[in-house]
Amino acid sequence: MKTKEILFKLKPMRFAFYIIMGLAVLGGGFLFTPVVWGDYSKLTIPIIKYRGGDHRPRPEAVRSLMAQLARRTSIEVNREPVEIKLTDPDLYRYPFIYLAGNAGFEPFSPRELRILRHYLGFGGFLLIDDSSSKIHSEFDASVRKLVAQLFPKIPLQKISRDHSIYRSFYLIKRPAGRVLLNPFLEEISIKGRTVLAYSTNDLGGAWARDKLGHWNHDIVAGSSTQRQGSIRLGVNIVMYSLTLDYKKDMVHLPIILERLRRYHSK
C-alpha cells in the first residue's frame, strides 16, 4: 500500500493524533536529550580471567545479577559482561570484581598477587564464587591458597551474623546459593572493611538465566525460596560494596533491629 493511500485511509482525528505524537517524540528528543552519563560511574562487575580452570563456569551469572539489581534497586548498571585480567591497566576503573570457577586454577604470579593485594587494600572489592558444588573442591583449594598468599597474616573468617552484608538491602537469615554446602560466607576484612567475600554455594548458578528468562540451573535440594535467597544475597553483597556500613548508622538501627527481631521470630 502506498503512503498516500494510507494517509487518506486514516480518520482525521487519528491522523492528528499520529502527527502530534510524532512531533512529541521529535520535540522530546530535542528538549530532553537522552542521558548518556559516564559509563564508568555505573556499576560494572568484571569477571577475572585467570590461567587454568574455567573462569566463566556460569556465563550468564553476572548479566543475570545485573538484571536483578536493575529491577530491584536504584543502582545503575552496565549489563554487558566484561572480562578482565588482573594485569589490565583498566582494572581500577572497576572497584568490584568477580572471580568464579569450578576447578583448580594456576597460582597467580607475584605481580598479579601484588596488584590484587593493592587493589583490595585501597578500596576494591572481590567476590569469589565456587561453582563446583563440591565440598573441598579443587577450586576451593586454589582459592584458599590464593588468599593465603594474598594476606598471609589475615586468615579467611566466617562473616558474622550482624555483618552489614546481611542487611544492606534485604534482611538475610542465612546465606544461600544453588547448593547449600556451607551456611556461611567467608571474608577478609581490612581496617573494618570487608574487601573479599567468598561463597562456596555456587551463587552464580542460582543467578544465571537465559535471555528468555529461564533459569539455567536447577536449585539442588531446594525451592525457589533458595534461589530468591541467593539473588537477595547477591544484591546485598553488591549493595555492601557500594554503601559499606551505611546500614549500621544510628538512624537505621532501631528500625532494622525491630524488623530483624520479628523476622527471626517467624
Partner: protein, 763 residues
C-alpha cells in the same frame, strides 16, 4: 671641733658632730697581738739596757720605746676621724584609706557608700589633721592589695581595687618607714580582708604589726546593720561549648534580709531571653543553688548575661548581674548527605566523610525507587522511610552542610520544602550539589529555589551531557582558593592537579552565575563549562561539582601508583570552605588571649585576603571598637604586604568589648566581629560584710584605738607621741694613720731612739 675643722680644712663647717673609729673588721685580733707582743718586746728591751750606767738615760730610752710601741699599736688599729651632720626630724603619721571594691558597698540607715563615710570623716576632721601636719609628717596612702601614695584624696579616691590584703599593706608600710620615725597609723577600712578566715589577725599580720612598733588606729567605715542584698554569688560556666549541644551552668545565689519572695533568674544573649527560672527566696535561708541549661546555636565567642531582679534598698547593686563568655565551637561538622542512588562516587565520598574525625555524618541512600520491584515484603527489607519532613522542616538548621549527591528530590521531598533549603543557606547554611544524571536539570531543580542559591544556572534547553573523558582545568585566577590547595606550595598543588586522572560524565547545560567562582572548568568549543563552582548566597555558601566521577581521583589514582589522599584533601577542603571554617575566611580576626584582666592591654590581629585568596596588601580596613560604656571608636587601619594588621587598646574597665572589621569590596560588605571579655575581681562582693572584730584586734595588738564610723566622727581625741628624733643626714671620714705625717712621726721617734742608744754606747 673647731680645731679639727681648722686642721682638715674650712669646707667642713657644716658638720656638727665627730668621733673616732677603729679598725672595725679585726680590731680585737690586733689588740690581742699587741697586748702580748708589746710587753714581751719591752721586757727584752729593758734587759738590753743593763749596760747603760745612767739611770736617767735608761728611763728615757725605755719611756721612748714604750711611746713608740704605743704609737705603732695605735697606727695598727687604723684610726679614722668621722665627721657627721645630723638634724632633728619630724615623726610621721600614715593615713591609710581602703580603696578596694567593698568600700563601694552601701551602709545603712543612710544608704551611703562606706568610702563616702570616710570622705565625710576626713572633711569633718580637716582642722585636726591640719594641726597634726604642723608637728608630724602626715602621709596619705590608698591601700588594697598594695599601697600607693594619695596626693589628692577628693579626686583620686574610688573603690575600684579588687581586694584588700592587710599583711601586704603593713609590710609595704614598714619598708616605707624603715628610716623614718612612724608615730602612728590611721586605718580607714571596712575590715573586709578575705585573706583572714577568722576575726583574728593572722600570725603573719601580728608579726608585721609588732615590727611596725607604732599604734594603728582602726577607723571602721560602715556597719552591718540592716544589710540587705540579693546576689549572684558564684557562677560555674564552661569556657567553651559546642553548638547545638546543651551547656550547663551552676549558679549560687545569696539573699540577706530579702524576706519571702519568688524571683526569676534570667539568662540572656543580647536582648534575647534564653532561659528564665523561678527561685523561691525564703526568710532565714541565705544560700540557693540553681542549675541551668541552655543550647548555644551560633559559633564564636558569645557573651551571655545572667541576672536576678534588683530590689530597692540593696547594699550592692552590681552583684545582681553577671556577664560571662562561652566560646561556642562546632564539636563536629554536621553533614546531611543524600544520595540519589548507590554509586562509586557516593561510596568513596561517604568513606571520606566517615573517616573525617571532624564530621558528624547523617547519610541516606535511595536504595530503591517507586518503580523498582524488590520482590519482597517490607518486613524482609532493611529499608527505612525517608524522613523528609523532619529533615527539611524541623532539623535542617542543625546541619552545617547539606549534600545532594546525584539526588532527584521528586518522590522524596515536597517541592515546598526546597524553599526551606534556600532560607537555610541564606541564613548561613551550606549546600553542595554533586552531579550525575539525577542532579541539576536531571533532578528537576531548574526553576526551583535550589537554582537560586547555586553558583550555576540550568539551561532550559540543555546541551545534554558529555560521556567523554575530560580533564578539568584549575582557574588560574583562583589557584589560591582553599578548595584547590592540594599541597602547601602553589607550584606543587598545580602539578598535583595536572597529575590527577581524567573524569567522565559532565553536565554541559550549566552556566556559571556572574558572582560565582569557577574553580575547575572544562573548555568545549571556546566555552568554559563549570566543573567545580562556588558562590556566597546571603550568609551561606554553596558549591557544585557537575560530574559524578570524582571517585576516579581516588581509586584510579591508586591504580596509577598514587594514593587517594588528594581526593580526600579536595573534599575536606571543600567541606572546610563551604562550612566557612575560620581558616578559609577572607577576613580573620583573633586576639592574643582568650580572656583579659582589668588593666591588661588587648591585642587584636587581623588578616585580610582578596576575593582570589591572595593577601590584600596595602588595603585599608575600617575597625570599630565597641566599648562597655556603649561608645564606639572608629579607626582606619593599614594592612601589610601579607595582608596582616594589628590593633591595640587598653580597656577602660571590666566588661565586654567587641571589635568589628569591615571591608567594602565593590559594594559588598565583608565583616568579622570578635568579642573580648575583660574580667574584674569581684571576690569582695562574695563576703561583703564589715569585719569589726578584725579591726578591733588590730587596734588592740598595736595599742591603737578602734572607732566606728556609723556617722562622721571627731577623731581629735586620738593623740600621738612626738619624741625628738635626730637623723644623720651627712658624714665624712679622714684616715688618721694612712698619711705621711704619722709615718714621719714614727720614723722621727725611731731615729731619736737610735741616736740616744748610740750615744749611750749601744749598737
Amino acid at each position: 671641733m673647731n680645731f679639727l675643722i681648722e686642721f682638715f680644712g674650712s669646707g667642713l663647717a657644716e658638720y656638727n658632730e665627730w668621733n673616732i673609729q677603729w679598725a672595725p673588721e679585726n680590731s680585737q685580733a690586733i689588740a690581742v697581738i699587741l697586748g702580748v707582743s708589746i710587753p714581751l718586746a719591752l721586757w727584752f728591751f729593758w734587759t738590753s739596757l743593763k749596760r747603760i750606767p745612767s739611770r736617767l738615760k735608761k728611763i728615757f730610752l725605755f719611756g721612748l720605746r714604750v711611746f713608740i710601741f704605743l704609737f705603732l699599736g695605735l697606727l695598727l688599729l687604723k684610726p679614722q676621724l668621722e665627721l657627721k651632720k645630723s638634724q632633728s626630724h619630724k615623726n610621721s603619721i600614715a593615713v591609710l584609706l581602703d580603696n578596694s571594691k567593698s568600700m563601694g558597698i552601701k551602709t545603712f540607715p543612710r544608704e551611703e557608700k562606706r568610702m563616702d563615710r570616710v570622705l565625710e570623716t576626713l572633711k569633718a576632721n580637716k582642722d585636726y589633721l591640719a594641726g597634726l601636719k604642723k608637728d608630724f609628717n602626715v602621709d596619705t596612702f590608698f591601700i588594697s592589695d598594695h599601697t600607693e601614695p594619695a596626693s589628692d584624696v577628693d579626686v583620686q579616691y574610688q573603690a575600684r581595687r579588687p581586694n584588700t590584703d592587710y599583711s601586704k599593706v603593713f609590710r609595704d608600710l614598714k619598708k616605707h618607714y624603715e628610716k623614718k620615725p612612724l608615730a602612728g597609723v590611721f586605718l580607714f577600712t571596712d575590715g573586709a580582708d578575705l585573706n583572714h578566715s577568722s576575726d583574728d589577725p593572722s600570725r603573719e599580720l601580728v608579726e608585721i604589726l609588732a615590727g611596725l612598733n607604732s599604734p594603728v588606729h582602726t577607723i571602721q567605715a560602715g556597719t552591718n546593720e540592716s544589710f540587705k542584698d540579693l546576689s549572684i554569688q558564684s557562677l560555674l560556666a564552661p569556657d567553651f561549648g559546642f553548638a547545638f549541644q546543651p551547656v550547663n551552668l551552676s549558679v549560687s545565689l545569696n539573699a540577706s534580709s530579702m524576706g519571702n519572695k519568688n524571683i526569676s533568674l534570667v539568662l540572656k544573649e543580647g536582648k534575647n531571653i534564653l532561659i528564665s527560672k523561678m527561685v523561691e527566696i525564703r526568710e532565714g535561708k541565705t544560700d540557693y543553688q540553681v542549675e541551668l541549661q541552655f543550647t548555644p546555636r551560633d559559633l564564636g565567642k558569645r557573651v551571655y548575661s545572667l541576672s536576678v531582679p534588683l530590689f530597692s534598698g540593696e547594699s550592692i547593686t552590681t552583684n545582681n548581674h553577671r556577664d560571662f563568655q562561652v566560646k561556642v565551637i562546632r564539636d563536629r561538622t554536621r553533614i546531611l548527605h543524600l544520595n540519589g542512588r548507590p554509586s562509586w562516587d557516593s561510596r568513596y565520598l561517604r568513606e571520606v566523610l566517615v573517616n573525617n574525625p571532624k564530621v558528624d555524618l547523617l547519610s541516606f541512600f535511595i536504595l530503591r525507587t517507586l518503580s523498582d520491584d524488590v520482590a519482597a515484603p517490607t518486613s524482609e527489607l532493611s529499608l527505612i522511610p525517608f524522613p523528609s519532613n523532619l529533615l527539611f522542616s524541623d532539623y535542617l538548621n542543625s546541619f552545617d552542610l547539606v549534600i545532594f549527591q546525584n539526588f532527584r528530590f521528586e518522590s522524596f521531598i515536597d517541592k515546598k520544602l526546597l524553599s526551606n533549603i534556600k532560607t537555610y543557606v541564606q541564613e548561613g547554611g551550606s549546600f553542595l550539589m554533586i552531579g550525575g544524571d539525577l542532579s541539576f536539570q536531571g533532578g528537576g531543580y531548574d526553576r526551583t529555589p535550589i537554582e537560586d542559591i547555586l553558583p550555576v544556572t540550568m539551561q532550559k534547553v540543555g546541551k545534554g551531557y558529555s560521556s567523554e573523558e575530560f580533564k578539568p582545568v584549575v582557574e588560574k585566577k583562583l589557584e589560591h582558593h582553599p578548595i584547590l590547595r592540594l599541597e602547601k606550595k602553589k607550584a606543587s598543588s598545580q602539578k598535583t592537579w595536572e597529575s590527577l586522572p581524567l573524569l567522565n560524565g559532565l553536565n554541559l547545560g550549566l552556566t556559571a552565575k556572574p558572582k560565582s567562582h569557577v574553580l575547575l572548568g572544562y573548555k568545549i568549543e571556546g566555552t568554559t563549562i563549570p566543573v567545580m563552582a562556588t558562590i556566597k548566597t546571603g550568609e551561606g555558601r554553596t558549591a557544585v561539582l557537575t560530574t559524578d566521577s570524582s571517585w576516579n581521583w581516588n581509586f584510579r589514582r591508586v591504580g596509577e601508583g598514587g594514593s587517594g589522599r588528594y581526593y580526600e584533601r579536595f573534599w575536606n577542603n571543600t567541606i572546610d570552605w563551604i562550612t566557612n571554617a575560620p581558616e578559609t575566611r577572607l577576613l580573620r580576626l583573633e586576639t592574643d588571649k582568650e580572656r583579659y584582666k582589668e588593666g591588661e592591654e588587648v591585642l587584636v590581629r587581623f588578616n585580610v585576603l582578596k576575593e582570589d585568596y591572595t593577601p590584600a596588601s596595602e588595603e585599608k580596613v575600617n575597625l570599630t571598637l565597641f566599648k562597655v560604656s556603649g561608645e564606639r571608636e572608629d579607626h582606619l587601619l593599614d594592612v601589610d604586604k601579607n595582608g596582616d594588621g594589628a590593633f591595640q587598646f587598653l580597656p577602660e574597665r571590666e566588661g565586654f568589648y567587641s571589635v568589628e572589621i569591615e571591608l567594602d569590596r565593590n559594594g559588598e560588605k565583608i565583616s568579622d566581629k570578635i568579642s573580648i571579655g575583660v574580667s574584674g575581681e569581684t571576690a569582695e562582693f562574695d563576703k561583703p560584710l564589715v569585719n569589726a572584730a578584725l579591726l578591733k584586734n588590730i587596734a588592740n595588738v598595736t595599742g591603737g584605738e578602734y572607732v566606728i564610723l556609723d556617722e562622721a566622727k571627731d577623731l581629735s581625741g586620738i593623740r600621738f607621741e612626738n619624741p625628738e628624733v635626730r637623723v644623720l643626714t651627712n658624714k665624712k671620714t679622714f684616715s688618721l694613720w694612712d698619711n705621711w705625717w704619722s709615718y714621719g712621726l714614727l720614723v722621727g721617734f725611731l731615729m731619736v731612739d737610735w741616736w740616744v742608744r748610740r750615744k749611750s754606747g749601744l749598737s
